[in-house]
């Protein structure tokens, strides 16, 4: 099992126990449990089960009508015409003296038969059309969909009526024709699902594996389309029964004397004045049958829907029920918090916000579950408190608790106090709290793309906040909004204020959020991971903006983040959270120099920023515990290298650290001497760069171009092209790693997809091991695909949620090696073992695994065809810091053992540096610099590389002055209208006259770096000196990383 270099602990195993906390169950049990998942959920829904039972009853009754029915449908009892219920005729008789109950029983047959014929016919027609349209797209799709639009334009009953009328009055003949009423909705549904599924990473991965189209549809697309389709079928059956009844009622369906519910209504209607009761029964029969079908559909939707999204556990969102009622429960006996008085506060009197012993609980099936416990900290006026921790540590919950934004019914503040400028926030009335929110304490969130309301202009959204707190009237508040937009650096604010959020990029939207948050001049700003979703260059801009606004306004800030680099950059004090508790609280410099909690040390050591190239990253074993799975002792204990028996015995209190003024929640803090930044990463610079000797090219790309047509205007004409990839030349040697970096929108992921031939390039060549992939036909291409596999960024969408791990990883084995059954599973087990997962994973489905484990499964699948090249498209960006290092170590180890070559795409330059032999930097579809990894890092030659490097938040707390970083102005240019000459020139701090007109040609330096920049090719332009590296001329800080 131990596949990692010695000295790294046993991190691979450590990631495992998320699946079950106890012993791995027998896989047979597991298997049965999963197969029954949806069915069990369905059976637990009483309404759905009742509906299903009723439908079954109706079907059985209809089939067995001759045996069950008291009379024939047309037997007349002329002595009792239009009689009421009696012993002989339980439901009475109709105008011809026929027994209503018997007619009702026989009358179920025509509508049921018609419904099944109609819906079945519709499915037979729709399925191939939709699959072809969704799979082939293009012209076929357009024609099919326009035809469907036309069919859809007929009100369904009118269409049925017309068709039935012309085909003759016998509904049996017409039912197939009426099926076309249902075809459009089926086609739309199936096609929509096919297209959605096709864009899932797991389908792309399957295509990259070489799965042929037929198999792709059969094993990946159809099963995923099936659930919504079954639901639609149930609903359609109900509607078909209604249509059948309607047509029969109008006399164009079944004809008398057939017994059918619709006809019975017609006949009863004639005697509505004399015997209205006869109307009731057939109507009820229709109503209950259709209702049952709808209930079954609802039940199916709930049961099947959950499977697909089961993995994404409910994200905490304050959302709608925000009218905060802060439930205050009886304080607990304090067993968990033996140390009630937390000493070591910074000078108490001056704190702006003080949180003490905060405990937040969430409602679960087994009662209230504490998610945040004994959290306390102070925020001083004008200072920044950093709140740092991995996902699930309770950072965001704590922040929302301060704001009174916890979801009302699902959560409560069970204990603790939040004092803000002398007021106890947990005791305030909802209205008083509202007056503070957004006015005195403001908050910005992680997702700028979804945090603004799409239906209102940004100016409106800022102005309404100013008005809500009664500061200004309508016109003044608008002026204020424009002013604020200007202050956060949005160009042309008076015009932009009238734009809707979708007209802004992510970075610009975060600026709008900041403008909004600061519009009422709050004393405290809570920023919840405000830069996590942004590019590193944009992050640098936003951080700088926040710092300068904070300085101007003397505003306090709580900055929530998982990135210690950002903390070092922006915070004065820091609170490290783990498992819902504060584990260390101290000044920033102290944390980085002398951490007093093993978790803090572990976080520092796993930062990829400063890891020595070529060495395994430090990892924290295991993963963040879930709130319902906390150990009774020290919560970090199970993952702690220093844990002793005493750590497991009971809760640990937060204690002051001698001589430091900080607090730590560690029993052994006086005994341990933990390593700070200096010790942990000391040797990095002097580490010998033992990069390996050059190797022959495995992948050789030249002149690769990918154009996407752009359609605009009312006619959707092609008015231009986006060059997503524009003349790229790259080589990946055998067994080596090429890192590819660039901001989002630079074309990295498109390049990956083109290389894998998931999309067809416009021009250029992709030579893999001597074969030009562009020249290959689709059959040959499939054969060659096995040498080249991909691992995607999103561990959630890259595995088919309906397949078990043995099928996911085993699929390539079936295709290429013809392995089946036991043989295949044995090989899958070997592969799982290689990525650090055990045999127990074999029969499980993806949603049972954590993000890191899923990424391991994705890697196992990619390894299955024994590839020689692995394209990794941001494989660790979605993972927590500690999991990230585990996966990176796994990849480096696999490379060493299997001789794999990697094309490693990332926006995180630190990770790329760590893993790569060479690095290529991409901007607007072009490679602007390419060279040996250390060379590119130490001596960047392109101004863009230099800016990217400079934007990395560096955890150096001992800077003499605020970091002089090269913050790029503006954003990546619009790829529709790329700037002439060098595409980077509008943002380049070194731009010269020539840059805007002439595109720079590649220049190869003596150290083997290729750069496209006029600073290097146009000779001695700056100060009469030949330019070798870019940094000195403008006086910017050299971008070495230390």
């Amino acid at each position: 099992m131990s596949i990692l270099p010695p000295g790294s602990g046993d991190p691979v195993v450590a990631d495992l126990p998320a699946v079950t906390t106890g012993t791995p169950p027998q896989h047979e049990d597991g298997e049965r449990a999963h197969r029954g998942g949806a069915l069990r959920r369905f059976l637990r829904d009483p309404l759905a089960v009742t509906g299903f039972a009723f439908i079954l009853g109706v079907i059985v009754t209809a089939i067995a009508a001759p045996q069950i029915s008291p009379d024939g449908p047309n037997v007349q009892d002329l002595l009792h015409i239009n009689a009421g219920p009696s012993g002989a005729h339980w439901l009475g008789t109709d105008d011809l003296g026929r027994d209503i109950l018997s007619r009702l029983i026989f009358g179920a047959r025509p509508p049921l038969r018609a419904a099944f014929q109609i819906v079945g016919g519709a499915l037979v027609l729709a399925l191939p059309l939709a699959l072809v349209a969704g799979f082939v797209r293009g012209w076929v799709d357009m024609i099919v969909m326009r035809a469907m639009d036309a069919l859809f334009s007929f009100p369904p009953l009118v269409l049925a009526l017309t068709v039935a009328a012309l085909l003759g009055p016998n509904l049996n003949d017409a039912s197939i024709a009426i099926a076309i009423v249902f075809v459009p909705s089926f086609v739309r549904l199936i096609r929509g699902e096919v297209i959605a599924v096709r864009e899932e990473n797991y389908v792309e991965a399957a295509r990259a594996t070489g799965v042929a189209p037929g198999r792709l549809i059969r094993t990946h697309i159809l099963p995923n389309v099936a659930s919504p389709l079954i639901i639609q079928v149930a609903l359609s059956l109900g509607y078909a029964i209604l249509i059948d009844a309607g047509l029969s009622f109008l006399g164009v369906g079944e004809q008398p004397p057939t017994a059918s519910w619709g006809l019975m209504l017609t006949e009863a209607y004639r005697f509505i004045f004399s015997s209205p009761l006869t109307l009731v029964f057939p109507g009820l029969a229709i109503l209950l049958t259709v209702l049952s079908l709808n209930l079954v559909a609802d039940g199916l939707r709930d049961a099947l829907g959950r499977e697909r999204f089961g993995a994404k556990q409910g994200r905490l969102k304050g959302a709608g029920r925000t009218v905060s009622t802060l439930a205050r429960a009886t304080p607990s006996d304090g067993a968990d918090t033996p140390e009630r008085e937390a000493p070591g506060h910074p000078t108490n009197t001056e704190s702006l916000l003080r949180v003490e012993h905060l405990r937040v609980e969430f409602a679960t099936r087994s009662g209230w579950l504490p998610v945040v416990e004994d959290v306390g900290f102070d925020v001083l006026p004008g200072h920044t408190l950093g709140l740092v921790g991995e996902s699930g540590s309770g950072k965001t919950v704590s922040a929302l608790a301060i704001m009174g934004l916890l979801p009302r019914r699902e959560s409560r503040i069970a204990e603790g106090s939040v004092r803000f400028t002398g007021r106890e926030l947990t005791q305030l009335s909802p209205e008083r709290m509202r007056q503070i929110r957004g006015n005195e304490i403001a908050m910005i969130f992680q997702e700028p793309m979804t945090s603004l309301n799409p239906a209102f202009t940004v100016g409106n959204q800022i102005a309404e906040q100013v008005r809500a707190h009664g500061h200004m009237g309508r016109s003044q508040s608008w002026a204020r909004a424009v002013d604020m937009l200007g202050q956060v650096g949005i160009p042309n604010p008076s015009r932009r204020a009238k734009d809707y959020p979708h007209a802004f990029s992510g970075g610009m939207r975060q600026r709008v959020m900041i403008a909004m948050a600061l519009s009422c001049e709050p004393n405290l700003l809570i920023a919840d991971e405000p830069t996590t979703a942004l590019d590193v260059t944009t992050q640098a801009q936003i951080l700088e903006l926040l710092s300068s606004l904070q300085r101007e306004r003397h505003m306090a800030m709580i900055f929530v983040t998982h990135d210690l680099g950002v903390i070092a950059d922006i915070a004065d004090h820091v609170v490290v959270m783990y498992g819902g508790q504060v584990v260390e609280r101290t000044e920033v410099a102290e944390l980085f120099d002398r951490p007093h909690h093993p978790y803090s040390e572990a976080l520092l050591s796993s930062m990829p920023q400063l890891a020595a190239p070529g060495r395994a990253l430090k990892v924290i074993a295991g993963q963040v515990p879930r709130p319902d799975d906390m150990v009774s002792g020290c919560r970090f204990g199970p993952r702690c290298d220093y844990a002793v028996d005493a750590c497991r015995s009971g809760p640990v209190a937060l204690e002051p650290v001698a001589l430091s003024g900080g607090l730590t929640r560690c029993l052994r803090h006086h005994q341990l001497t933990l390593g700070g930044m200096g010790q942990l990463h000391g040797g990095a610079d002097s580490a010998v760069d033992d990069r390996r000797a050059p190797a022959a090219a495995l992948l050789d790309i030249s002149g690769l171009r990918m154009d996407f047509p752009v359609r605009t205007g009312a006619l959707r004409r092609v008015t231009g092209t986006v060059r997503a990839v524009d003349g790229v030349d790259l080589r990946v040697p055998v067994g080596r790693t090429l890192g590819l970096v660039g901001e989002s929108g630079s074309g990295k992921s498109t390049l990956a997809r083109v290389i894998l031939r998931l999309i067809d390039p416009s021009d250029g060549s992709i030579v893999l091991d001597g074969n030009d992939l562009i020249q290959l036909g689709s059959r040959e291409l499939r054969h060659h695909r096995r040498s080249m596999q991909i691992v995607f960024q999103d561990p959630y969408s890259s595995l088919d949620p309906r397949m078990r791990v043995n099928d996911i990883v085993g699929e390539p084995l079936e295709i290429y090696d013809g392995l089946t059954g036991r043989e295949r599973d044995d090989r899958v087990t070997e592969l799982l073992d290689q990525v650090g997962l055990g045999r127990y994973a074999l029969y499980r489905r993806p949603h049972e695994f954590s993000g890191g484990q899923r990424q391991r499964i994705a890697i196992a699948r990619a390894l299955a065809p024994r590839p020689r090249l692995l394209v990794c498209d941001e494989p660790v960006s979605a993972l927590d810091v500690s999991t990230q290092s585990q996966v990176i170590n796994l990849l480096t180890d696999l490379q060493a053992r299997l001789g794999l070559a990697f094309l490693f795409i990332a926006h995180d330059l630190s990770v790329v540096r760590h893993i790569s032999d060479r690095i290529a930097v991409m901007y607007l579809g072009r490679i602007v610099e390419e060279g040996p990894a250390e060379e590119v890092y130490q001596r960047p030659r392109h101004p863009y590389t230099e800016a990217l490097l400079s934007a990395i938040p560096v955890p150096d707390v001992h800077r003499p002055e605020p970091l002089k970083r090269i913050v790029l102005t503006g954003e990546v240019a619009n790829p529709l209208d790329p700037p002439g000459g060098c595409a980077f020139h509008p943002r380049c701090p070194h731009a010269m006259a020539i840059c805007s007109s002439v595109e720079p040609q590649p220049f190869v330096s003596s150290s083997g770096t290729t750069v496209r920049c006029h600073l290097h090719t146009s000779g001695p332009v700056l100060n009469g000196r030949p330019v070798t590296t870019v940094s000195p001329p403008s006086g910017a800080t050299p971008a070495s990383t230390h």
Binding site: R146, D149, A150, L151, S153, F154, P155, P156, L157, V158, L161, T162, V163, A165, L166, L167, G168, A245, G246, L250, G251, L265, Y269, I272, P276, L279, G283, I286, L287, V290, N294, D298, K317, G318, A319, G320, T322, L405, P430, R434, I436, N439, F445, T450, S451, N453, P454, A455, F456, E464, Q465, A468, D499, H502, A503, M516, T712, G713, A714, L715
Partner: protein, 326 residues
Amino acid sequence: MASGGSLFTFVARRLLITVPLLFIISLAVFSLVLLLPGDPALALAGGLHAKASTVAQIRRQLHLNEGFFAQYGLWLGHVLHGNLGHSLFSPASVPSSSVATGIRIRFPVTLSIAVGGMVTAVVIGLPAGIAAGLRPRSWTDRIVTSVSSLAVAMPDFWLAMLLVILLAIHTHVLPPLGYTPFAISPWSWFQHLLMPWLALGFGGAATVARQTRGSLIDTLDQDYMRTAAAKGLKPRNIIVKHALKNAVSPVMTVVGIQFGYLLGGTFIIENIFSLPGLGTYMIQAIGTKDLPEVQGVALLTAAAFVIVNLVVDVLYAYLNPKVRLA
């Protein structure tokens, strides 16, 4: 950015899609003749026992000797001039033998039933859906959800008959059948249409309520709702401004589609209340296999449906700036 997303371009683009769509619809309607078994003229004239002269007359009137596309061309040319042909069986001297005239007389009746039903559906369904969506799992929500499940499953013409029994036969609150034009007596017009509206609107209201509820619950879970709360807006303002505008706009599309179901429902309801609309006209035409009349009605209802959905789409785009880019 602004130019690409203007409402004008959006409307222009939707119109450009609508025009060819109308042509495809006209082709589909005309192709109905192909559904007739055997010799169309013979089938229309009443089968094997038809008089030879009638068969010949029908063949001449419908140009059945020409090729299919020539027939279509002739028919379409007339349609574009507002001429939907003549009834096969009424004597040409009767004004309503012109299909266009027949439809023109009856269309307002059908339209007022369908639009009234739609209004009923929205007026009942929207508030009910909002009440349920604001407090999922409350009693209000349970009642709205159960009643709407029943209403969706209920055949509208059955409900119409129950209403007749209840309001006209038992209590004489409303007239059981018949129609008075609005111009003659608005009150009587209203009385005669109230039951059809309720019967049609009830099922529509259920669909609207369910959709509104779901959409509101989704909206309340959006990140921007948390932002609105974090801004310190008043709770009512958060719901009314930030939630409802986003929640209600997708409901509009449903209302548009629902209009089609209502138009269809109207065809049955008219026959129950003896209302002189397209439904009763169509049923007569079907009885006699009067092809031009059937085609005329089908074409017109489809066109009406398309236009209603066009209007809905434009309104939707007006409410949702983002949609204009799609």
